[in-house]
Every structure is written in C-alpha cells, then in structure tokens.
Symmetry: C2
Subunit: 240 residues, 2 copies
DNA sequence: AAGAAAAACGAACGCTTGCTCGTTTTTTCT
DNA sequence: AGAAAAAACGAGCAAGCGTTCGTTTTTCTT
C-alpha cells in the first residue's frame, strides 16, 4: 500500500455525505434536493477550511465565506442555521469518514507488527489526503463550546487507544518489548500530528509521506520491537 | 538538574521585563513609573494567556481582558496602543526570556551526549514553567499578521536547528549513528511540543515532567546512540 | 495639607459582525 | 410554455467589537 493507491481507494468514501451522523443535522437544511446539498456543502466546507486555516474560524466572517464559496449570505443560511452549526456539521462529517477508513484498514491486517505499521501509515495517509481538515480540527476545536470540545478529546484518545492496544497485544505475544505503551502511543500520535500541523516545513524540504512513514515506523520499531523479530531491521537502521 | 531546581533558578529571569527587545515598545506605554508598568503588564499578560487559552485570542474581547486583569478599558490602553500591539509585546518579552535560558543551559554542557539530554530536558522544563505561553504561542501566532508569523516560524526552526547541530556533531565524533538528523530533530520537537499542547492529558495520567523527559531521551537515544556508547542503556530499555 | 502630576476610569462612537426576510431568479413539472 | 416550487439574493437590523477622551481618583512633591 502506497499513498497513491490509498488516495484513489479513498475518494469514494469522501463522497458519502449522507451517513447516520449527518442526518441528525439534515433538519437544519432548508434545501430539498440531496444533490444540491452535496454540491454546495462541499463548496462551503472547502471554503471554510481554506479561510479558517489562514485566519482562524473565529476571524472568518460570513461575508468572507459567502465570497469564497460563491453563495450569497441568504443562500448560506439555507444549509446551516448558525456559524456554530456549520462547524458541528463539518466536524461530524469528516470525523465519521476518518474513523471508518482507519478502522477498515487496520482490521484488515492480521499480524501484530503489520497492524502497527499499517496504523501509522494509514493515519499518515489520511491526514495527508485531508490535511486542511486535520489541521483545522486540531487548531480550532479546542476553542469551541463544551460538547464539541468533548468530542474532539474523545476522538484524540480513541486513536491513541488503537496504538496502545496494538502495542499491548504485541507485548503479550512477544513481538514487542515491555514499555510504557500508553506513553509510546502518545508520542507516536504527536509525531503523526506533526506531519499535518507543519505541512509547510516538510513540503519545503521535499520530505514525502512515504519517507516520513518509513521514518516513523523505524523510530518506533527500534524502540519497541524485540530483537528476535528485528531481523532485517538492524540493517535498515544504518540505511536511514 | 531536576525540575524544582530549574524552576527556582529561572524565576529570576522571568522578572526582567525590560530587556532590549522590550524597549522598542516602551514608547507605546503612557505610564511613567517602571514598577507600575511591570506590575500591571504582568497582570495583563497573565489575563491574556488565561482567556486566550480558553477561547482564543481573537475571541477575547477587551472587556474580557479588562475584567480579568482588574483594569478599566482606559487603563489598559495606557499599556499598549492596540490589541495587536499587546500580542507583539507579549510575544517579544516571553520569546527573549525563553531563548536566553535555553542557550545558557546548553552551552554549559561540554559532552555531546550530555548536550542532547540537556537540550531535551531544559526545553521540556521551560515549557512546563511557562506552559500557558508556550501553548498560546503555538495556537495563536499562526493566525497573526505577516511579520509576527515570520518570527514564530523563525523561532520554531531555530530550536530545531539546535537539535540538528548536536546530532550532526555527535555523528562526527562517533557518539551518534548516521541518521537523517533533520528529521530526527523535527520529530523530537514534535514530542516536546506534545507535552505543553496536551498538558491536560499528562496531568490526568500523573505523568511527571521528569518521567516524560527520561522517556523522550530514551526513545531518541535508542534510535541515535551508537552501540559503543550504549553501555548502561541496553539495560534501561527493559526497565521502562 | 495643598497643589500638581500620574494613573485609572467608563460612557460614548463608529464600524463590523452574525443573521433575517421580503424579493428576484432558477428549476421543475405538467 | 407557463405556473408553481425551490433556491439564491443582498440590503438592513440589533448586538457587540476595538478604541477614544473628558473626567475623577490616587499618588507624589513640597
């Protein structure tokens, strides 16, 4: 699995706006035709991410959004009932897509070591394919109302738990060493997040997603993989 | 050097508001007595950080700030000429203190391996002692006007370069292995930043600064330290 | 203690914001 | 093609914003 293959297989997922999470918000939308909703919501979401990632969601005015999305003020409010509601819709849509894809790829793997590699790689690929949203979500959700903040924290801990459980299972079956798995999972997430938070830096240095994935896997495996399983790894340490 | 000792030795630095960087902004302050400036600027800065870290700098109103700092609207504007100016002052003051302390501690070390450990440890201690500002700086400076954003990026790359240079020197003298030092420096920073960005998480789990420092050092050294220098390390890998 | 200088005060101003709603344009259906 | 339904429009409203400034309170000086 490389990034190009991943991106192609994913573009299908991204289209299905109308998942269960979404229908909760459907009542706030005054537009009847689903295809119109899908087309314009995509415009609105993209514009929101573009503007917010430049100046912040708070600082984005509805007039900014109207201009960027190519819809009048009145039209915008046919798709959501308030600025805060727009944020909630955007978050729930993207979050559900992300979660589904990540789980699908990880569950597909059987070996523990492969599960870890795939979890790292797919998380990275996902954040690359949806970089504007990942960045947005990290930077903005903290400043938002109570229940929305709780969902963001829950989502953070959820992915961390995935890594922690893989490491735990790996230790049980002798693949990984005894470590503080919670801390390892935590810093792994931190390194994954750096990719989309400092996208400009890695772009300027011509570091590709593949390189970064390989590199993260080698750091974590050097630290966690037990030596019996390290064959063919010891060599690659010198290669980097 | 542990955190308690560090914090005591640092509290002196924090007091000197009136460094060279600061005097550029002195002309914007209508208040005559230095001691009054120092006292109230501290109140204002602290209040700014407290409110901004809850709802964002943009969303903080001058009325919020007035209430939290215990100064009237009119009084506030005796200490800065605009909301943006307040941000600039806060950033330049904290940035200069941070930089000075970090350099002092690192230059004090002579051995390369010690330099790396100290760089990690002191960066962590600094961000712990000034957590509200580090968090603020990371989350807010990106959304701010051109020149201020440039300074933030410069500061980010500056600390990264410190790590990169230590690793490079270490490879030359055979202490560290051949690695992509720029990438290693980059992810090291990412892990350091996670400490102050997710302070709530580590607090809830009762992870101390000391533990986190030890842990980070062990990850990086496992990855970078050449085996000849790894004596007494191999064992500690099993301990964690 | 009294007068002057310094600091703090907060109502008021002009502007921008999120949002609404009466109207116009586009699409759909027969 | 024409009428009805759906969607898009954008000027206008109240609320809230950053900032100012004439006045009052506190501090310093003699």
């Amino acid at each position: 699995m490389n990034y190009l293959k991943f991106k192609k297989s994913v573009s299908n997922y991204a289209k299905d706006f109308f998942n269960e999470d979404f229908f909760e918000n459907r009542k706030n939308i005054r537009i009847k035709k689903e295809s119109t909703v899908a087309k314009n919501l995509e415009k609105i979401f993209d514009a929101t991410l573009k503007i917010s990632n430049k100046k912040g969601f708070q600082a984005m005015t509805m007039r900014d959004l109207s201009r960027e999305a190519g819809l009048s003020m009145g039209a915008l409010y046919s798709y959501f009932s308030s600025k805060e509601d727009l944020l909630k819709m955007l978050q729930s849509q993207r979050r559900s897509v992300t979660k589904r894809i990540l789980e699908e790829y990880i569950n597909h793997e059987t070996g523990i070591a492969d599960k870890l590699r795939t979890a790292i790689r797919i998380h990275l690929y996902l954040s690359e394919a949806m970089q504007p949203w990942f960045y947005f979500s990290y930077m903005e959700t903290k400043n938002i109302s109570g229940p929305e903040q709780a969902k963001a924290i829950e989502s953070e801990l959820y992915t961390e738990k995935i890594f922690e459980n893989i490491l735990k299972d790996g230790e049980k079956s002798g693949v990984f060493l005894h470590r503080n798995h919670q801390l390892t999972a935590s810093v792994t997430k931190a390194m994954l997040q750096d990719w989309y938070l400092k996208r400009w830096k890695y772009a300027k240095r011509n570091v590709s997603v593949e390189q970064y994935a390989k590199y993260l896997i080698s750091i974590i495996e050097t630290f966690c993989l037990s030596s019996e399983h390290e064959n063919g790894r010891k060599k690659s340490r010198r290669e980097l």
